[in-house]
Every structure is written in structure tokens, then in C-alpha cells.
Amino acid sequence: MSYLNATHLVFSGDFLSDVSTVNNDPAHYNNATFQPSFQEFGQGASNGWWNPEGGATFQFQNCTVKKVSLKNGQTLTEPAADIVIGKLIRGAEGRNTGKMVDLDPQEQGSSELWGVKFRLVSVNNETLLEGDIRPTGFRDLQTRQQTGGQVNGQPFGGTWTSVVENITWGPLAERSPFLAELKATTQQNRISINLNAYGYYYAHAADGRFSMGRILGTIAPWEEEEPDTFAACRRLYGIYVTKVNNGLPIIFFSNTNFAFDAARKSVSVDFGSSFPIADSMGGIVLKEKLYLAVSKVAVTDSFSTTPVTTNSNSVVIIGEVPYESGPDWLNNTGGIVTLNNINNEAAALLENHQLVLLRPSGLGQYTIIAREAINGVVVRCDNFVNRLDYNQTNQLHLYAYQWGQPMKNVALTVTLEKPTAITPVGPTNPICELPGNNYPANGISFNTTVKTDKYGRAVLPLTGNRIDNPRLYIDGQIYILDYQLDTQPQDPAMGPLANDNIFIHLRDYFEIPAEPQWSDIATTMTQFANLYPIMSKYLVNLADPVAMATKRDILKFAFSQNIHDPIYMPVTRDLSENKRLTILKWLENPVVATKQEKAGLILPGELLASPAEPDAAPTINQERLKNAVRAKNGAGFVPFNIDKIFND
């Protein structure tokens, strides 16, 4: 149950994510059609979007510990009860704080944290606990803000789940009952961490929060044989569509993790990822009663603008959700609601029946706001964001759970999403043709069926094969895999922005030249210079071999770091090993041809033709991905203000 363990700590505060945005547009990767205006602030393909000079920095700011819960069920919120209350969460000190990067311009729906340090410290900077957050991409993108999306530029939130590794404990930790308990349960020197983020600012608003967001964090024990990047728990999916905004269903309570502890007869629900908030700061205006209940009958409806109802004969009420309207509840509790000592009937049913979130809609009548996954089945991939080189094999871990327990010896099927078409130049795509994805199909090899072990885990080896520049001006190709229980499709209610897929950036086949010339790396370096103006403007013009040669020592330093080091170049971590080594080799002997070479700037050839059928409709996952990217980038966001979440 990872972060929903009875032993857990809640913190909240801000995060800063100074991502760069010129690279949000795939067409900007084309050196041949690149224009200086693409580096300027502004919406639209011919500009650089909302933060063209971003440096990809990610860091915690103003984060403090709000509360801890102990395994005996006690909740502590005062420093007198546990010194850890009020302590600070900070990132690295004396080295870069961490980075947030996309996998690829054509897969921006799972932005990852890299090289982020987690430090729990006193105001005097004494360490209580310190470790490294294992790289993880966000999931469960969903609508959060009822109002005020126009102030920050978008109304969505998402979740990073991971483990904090390489833990070291400071002497002060011994004085905290919570940390003592956490330390005693720590396995493999790791703890679990969940970060629910919302209220992220694309706008230079009057409150000064540009490129900041709010974060609700939890740390808890991590248990061996559990996944790293999602919680091994049960899930609620929102099925109540408040409205459809610009084609996107607005669903609150869309993706919610919960855990049921039969022995303790308790249910813990993480509303921190999904509770509707008034604005970008986490205040709540909702005032209606909400109930957690168990449904005696299976509920399989997907989300819809037509409310799904139930009645008191079909459910057993567990209890009311004890939330509070106002600015503080989410920020002080993280939105984690635990109902203890639940009635015996509900507890017995919960073993194998769905949890539901209800709103009274009449005498003995309820509207189902969210329901548990069909049959209580949750199938997810752990290492779902993959950077893959030629001849490299990644071992992917898929997990299947039912009612929170591992599903042993079940078959999971894995399929490649169908190819998408090349986007021609036109009014909505003014710069150049955009490549399609998921082809050539023989670029990757994987088993289409895998079986789970006693931990509910199946290992899926994924191998990269040779591809030769199918996207012409963007290295490699994006492949997206779907997975499911062979006997049950993925739940349709996972949400219109869900991204429970496997994302793969397979890099182009590339051999390291014996004596690299500038022309061997010119395309790549020019692209970096175009996409990351912060580098070329302030540090070194990466498109200029003479400037590169002048700064070769520092460039060698940056290009030879471990990928887990925040100063690793390229920051986006999207370069194949062989291309990176070629840059390093060129820097050893930076040969610049006497004649200024244009070679490499304009690529010969054309995009590899897509095998997509003409006018083929996108699959549900392709539609979700498109929605997620638009939502994540705040592109074409039509602001809304929702006074009433429930219309009926």
C-alpha cells in the first residue's frame, strides 16, 4: 500500500518547475524551418510558448511537514508531539536541485523528475532524512480547479509517485517518533513518496507565482516487491462529468488512490490527487456532503454527463468524507482521509466489492461520483517511461492487483498502439510536416503476453532494434504500448487524460565515427541551440563549433555526467549513448572545417511514410494522449468557472 500505509507523513508547500517550452512543439525540432521567433515568448506554433528561456529546474519551495500518522492510528499535528511537524522539505544543497523533462516532443504526457534530492531538515538546516527521488513520470493528470484556471493558465493537476533511495538519517531523526517508526520499517534503504501537484502557473500573474505550483506530499514505508512509481493500492475513478469544456469532459474526483486495511477495518483515501479546489492555492468551496460506501452490486459505468445513481439498498455507507471548506484542509491534511473502525458489513464487503463515492440526491438516493475500478482490478506498468537505444533491452515490470491483492499467475497482454499519420502542413500546423508515431513496427521487440508471479508482477523485456531516422528531424521514434489483463480491458473510466501506457523513445541507430567532424554533430547541436535558448543566449552557442571548442572543458564536463546527476547534458536526456559519445569525442579534438559547414542543418530525405490508414480515427489512448498534452501545455485552454460541480 506504499504511501497509504498507516505510518505516513504529510507535507505541503510549493514547487518550482522552470521547464523550457520551445521544445513543446515538434515542428521546432526541424532545423530547416526554424525561425528566431520560435524562441520568443508567446502562444502559437510560430512562438516559443510560455517559458522559452526555461532551464528545466525542479525544486521544492516552502514545503513543511503538516502531520504524521503512526501505525497505532495516532495522528500528530504539533511539534510538541513529534519534532518532525513543521520541519522543512528541501531539495539539494550545494548542487543543482533537480530537473523536470519530457520524454519527447511527441510524448509530453509523462514529464519526469530527474536528479531530485529530498531533504527533510530543521530550520537550522540539520538533516533528519535525506535521499534521492528515483526518476518518475507524472500520471493521473486530471482537472482540479473549479475556478481561476485563467489566472495560472490551466486547471489541471498530476501525480508523481516514486521511492526515495539512498536514505541517510540525521541524528535528529531519533527524536521523532514518526521517523523512528519509519526507519524501523525501511527496506533496501528506500521509502515511498507521493507528490500530488496542482495549481501550476504558466501565466506571469500578479501573485508572482509564475512557473510555481502547489504540492501535497506524502512519505511512508516502501515494501519489497512493491512497484516504485505507483502505489500498490486500489483506485477510484470519477464518472460524474460536470461539463464538457472545449471537447474535454471535466471530471472531478477522477483518479483517486485508496487502501483498505481489513485487519484494522480502516479505509484511507488520497483525495489529494483529485479533490476539486477553488483556485490555484488549494482552497475548497465545495460544501456538499459526500459519503464513502461499498456497493453491493457491480458498477461498470464509464464517465458520462448522465449521472449514475444508486440507492440505499445497493450500498453500505461507510461514513461521511470529513473534508472542510476553506483554504486549509487540503494543505494541512494532504487530502488523505482515513475512516477507522468501519462497520462490519462494510468491512466484509470491501474485501471484494467496489468502494464508491456518493452524494445524496434524494431520500435513500445517491449519485455515484466515483467508483472503484471494475472488479477491483488495477494493472499498471512500473517503469513506464523508457529511453531505449539500439540493441538495448529494458526489463519492464507490470503489476496486476485485484481488491488490493497481487493477482498471481494471470496473463497480461501487451499491444503496440496503431501507427498515427503524418500531419500535413496546414492552418493548424503551419511550419512543417509532423511525423507520425508507432512505426516502423519492427523497431521494438516485446512479448505480447506475459504472466504474473506471486507478487502480481510480470517482467516484460523490451528491446530496441535498428531504426534509421523515421522522423527525419527528430531523433528516433515514439512507441506507445497498451497493456491489460487478458480477460478484462483497462477500465474506461480511467479518465479522459489518463496515461496508463508504456511510453518508449527509441533512438536512431547511430555509429560513432572514428574521427568525428562537426558535420557529424551539427544537426544535433543546432537543434539544442534552437530549442534551449537559455544555453545559447547565456552560456555557449551550441550551434557554433568555434564557441563549442572554446568551452570544451565545461562541455565535456556536462556531457560526461551520470544521467542521474542534475547537471547531465543534454538536460532532456533524449540523446542516444552513441550520439552523446560522439559529441564527447568531437570535443576531444574539435575539428572545425575551414569552410563553414552547412551540412547537417538541412537534412536530406523525408519523413518515413506512415502506415496509418487514411482518415483512421485515433484510438482512445491516442485521444487521451492528445488531450493530456494539450492540458499539460495549457494549449488552447478555454477557461471555465464552475460554481456547482454537481448539476443535478
Binding site: N62, L88, N125, P327
Partner: protein, 354 residues
């Protein structure tokens, strides 16, 4: 000619045990650091893509100041002391006098680049005991104590007091592949320390017969002098001391420099604004850097590469600040303020109006 409060030289000369030199080497670290923010501020004040030559010159001086700081730190570690870098009073409160009363009345601030700044401040800071007359300059003579004499006094006292094999833990010595092994090497013996002090003095002042040090590197004073004169200093066999300011012109257009507000302080900018946050983040990075360096010089020399990453963050943050209009000060931009911040005090939550 830069004066130094003679008491510091006196203290060096009076020392009878190595530990009495600890605070003086700590002073040396603070002195070498104290010039870096003013130089960097001038360098960062150039708009992107301008002032290349000038930036390169200032950058080369800054790198050498970092080297000198590292050498002073290594010597302090070598003789058994501990550099103290992450504390509020390590940072000068610009505009201010330099540490140890150096420069007498000279005040050093954080200002945009100008030839006047180079002349009146940077050249003053770096002025040798006996500047060479390279074409136009008259030799001044006086009897003030100088930085060079301070280091000379430390050198003499080390020679007198220190054992040949220095008592400090060799594992604390900081080296870096970014510096040649001739310039930055572990200080293990008295001879190492004495030689290293020569590097500091020569890079700053040149030798008594040439504007270059023994490695042919032009000393700071003359590097700045070429910026002031607007002509590159080149080898000239016909000129006295073998150099003259007869090289290519060093163009400088004042419009290339952002109008940063001199000695910007964070408290000049209203809390809760994006501008203030950016300034606070810059200072947060700076303090993080000092914390990282403190760690580096106190038993974790392998941490140095990590701090280099922070230096780049700092630079990016500073350049962005310099391009940002100063709220409430029309015609001015923000400057990097290089201030200690209590980074650990979280900002009050700007509660939503709900």
C-alpha cells in the same frame, strides 16, 4: 595603491604557532571571495551576445580568484584549520570596504560594467605594489602595506613555523581538472604552500619586471587596464617591460549593458512579486553554493563538481535578473544582490481568497 590594515600583517608576523595563522588564512579566503560578486555583476550586466572580449577578460580574472580562494582554503586545511564559508558574515554587504581594511577608503559595490568602474574600482583592487609603467602610467611610490605584503608575511611565517610535512589531512585537499596541476595541487608540504602563495600574488599583480606571471599569463591589474584603455595589451619588444597597449581595439558600447540598479538588495523589491522571487531564488542558489563549497572544503573535496553546476544556475539566474525591469525604479533593471538569505524560513502561504 591598495592599503591593507597593517594589523593583519602584524598579526602574521607576531604568530608563534601555526593555529595563529588560521584566522589569517580564513581572511585570505574571504578576501579572494569578496571580489568575485563585484566582477561577476559587471560581467552579467552585459546583454546577451555583447561584450564578448570584455566578458572573457573578467571571466578569466574571476576564475583565478576562485583558484586563489581554493589555494587559500587548501593551505588552511593543510596547516590544520577549517575553512568557514557558509555563514552570513562571509558575504560582504555591498557596497562596502573589502575585508581586512583593504583599499582604505575604497568602496566596492555591485554595479553594471563601465570603464569608470574598471578604472576606479577593479584596477584599484588589483593594483600591484609597484605598477609597471606600460607606456603612459607614472610609477607611484609609497609605504603602505599591500595585499602582496600580507601574503608575503604569511609565506614567511609558514616558512618559519610550519614543519616540512604539513599536519592537515591530505584527504581534505581540493583539486579540479579545470585547473592545471601546476596551479592547483594538493598542499602537503611547506614548499607546496609557499609556491602556491606565489601563484596567488603573481596572478594578481604580475612580477616586478613584467605584467605577466612566470607562466606568461597577464596579471589582473593589467587585464583590467586594457579594458580601461580600450586596447589589448600585446607583446611589444620595443616597449618597456615588453608589452604595450597597442593591440586591437576593445570595443565597448555602454548601450550593451543593462541599466542594473547599483547594489540591488532583495528588500528593495516587494515580497510576493515574481521579481522578488527571482531575486530570492538567485540568493538561494548563492547560499546553496556557499554551503556546497563549505562541504567541499571540509572533508568532501569530491563534491566540487556538484558545486560547479550551481555556479551555472547562479549565472543563468543572474543574467535573467539583469534583463528584468526593477519594479518601482523606472529606467533600472534588477541586479544580482549576492545576499545571505535564511533559505530555511518558508515564505508565508499566500492563502487563496475563498
Amino acid at each position: 595603491m591598495l592599503k591593507i590594515n597593517p594589523q593583519f600583517i602584524h598579526r602574521a608576523k607576531q604568530a608563534s604557532k601555526l593555529p595563529e595563522l588560521f584566522p589569517l588564512f580564513q581572511n585570505a579566503i574571504e578576501l579572494e571571495h569578496s571580489t568575485i560578486p563585484p566582477y561577476l555583476t559587471a560581467m552579467f550586466s552585459f546583454k546577451p551576445g555583447t561584450g564578448d572580449y570584455i566578458r572573457t577578460v573578467i571571466h578569466s580574472v574571476v576564475i583565478e580568484e576562485m583558484l586563489h580562494m581554493t589555494i587559500a582554503g587548501n593551505i588552511l586545511n593543510a596547516i590544520g584549520g577549517s575553512p568557514d564559508i557558509n555563514k552570513k558574515d562571509f558575504i560582504p554587504d555591498y557596497k562596502c570596504h573589502l575585508p581586512m581594511g583593504i583599499g582604505g577608503e575604497l568602496e566596492v559595490g555591485l554595479e553594471r560594467y563601465s570603464r569608470e568602474l574598471v578604472h576606479k574600482v577593479f584596477m584599484e583592487i588589483e593594483e600591484p605594489e609597484h605598477p609597471l609603467e606600460l607606456k603612459s602610467r607614472a610609477v607611484e611610490t609609497d609605504t603602505y602595506k599591500t595585499i602582496g605584503e600580507f601574503y608575503q608575511a604569511l609565506q614567511e611565517k609558514l616558512a618559519e613555523l610550519a614543519p616540512e610535512h604539513l599536519p592537515g589531512d591530505p584527504a581534505k585537499q581540493v583539486t579540479s581538472s579545470f585547473f592545471s596541476k601546476d596551479l592547483l595541487y594538493p598542499i602537503l608540504t611547506k614548499t607546496d604552500a609557499i609556491k602556491a602563495i606565489n601563484i596567488i600574488v603573481e596572478q594578481g599583480e604580475g612580477t616586478t619586471t613584467s605584467p605577466a606571471d612566470f607562466d606568461g599569463e597577464i596579471a589582473h591589474y593589467y587585464k583590467f587596464q586594457e579594458l580601461y584603455k580600450g586596447r589589448q595589451l600585446v607583446k611589444d619588444p620595443d616597449a618597456p617591460h615588453g608589452y604595450s597597449f597597442t593591440g586591437p581595439e576593445i570595443p565597448f558600447n555602454p548601450a550593451d549593458v543593462w541599466p542594473i540598479f547599483p547594489n540591488t538588495k532583495a528588500n528593495m523589491v516587494a515580497p510576493g512579486t515574481e521579481e522578488r522571487r527571482r531575486l530570492d531564488e538567485f540568493n538561494g542558489s548563492y547560499v546553496s553554493l556557499l554551503n556546497g563549497l563549505h562541504r567541499t572544503f571540509n572533508g568532501h573535496p569530491g563534491y566540487l563538481p556538484a558545486t560547479i553546476g550551481v555556479m551555472f544556475d547562479l549565472r543563468l539566474a543572474a543574467e535573467k535578473l539583469c534583463g528584468t525591469a526593477f519594479p518601482g525604479k523606472p529606467g533600472f533593471n534588477l541586479g544580482p544582490s549576492f545576499e545571505w538569505v535564511d533559505v530555511l524560513q518558508p515564505a508565508p502561504v499566500n492563502k487563496a481568497l475563498v
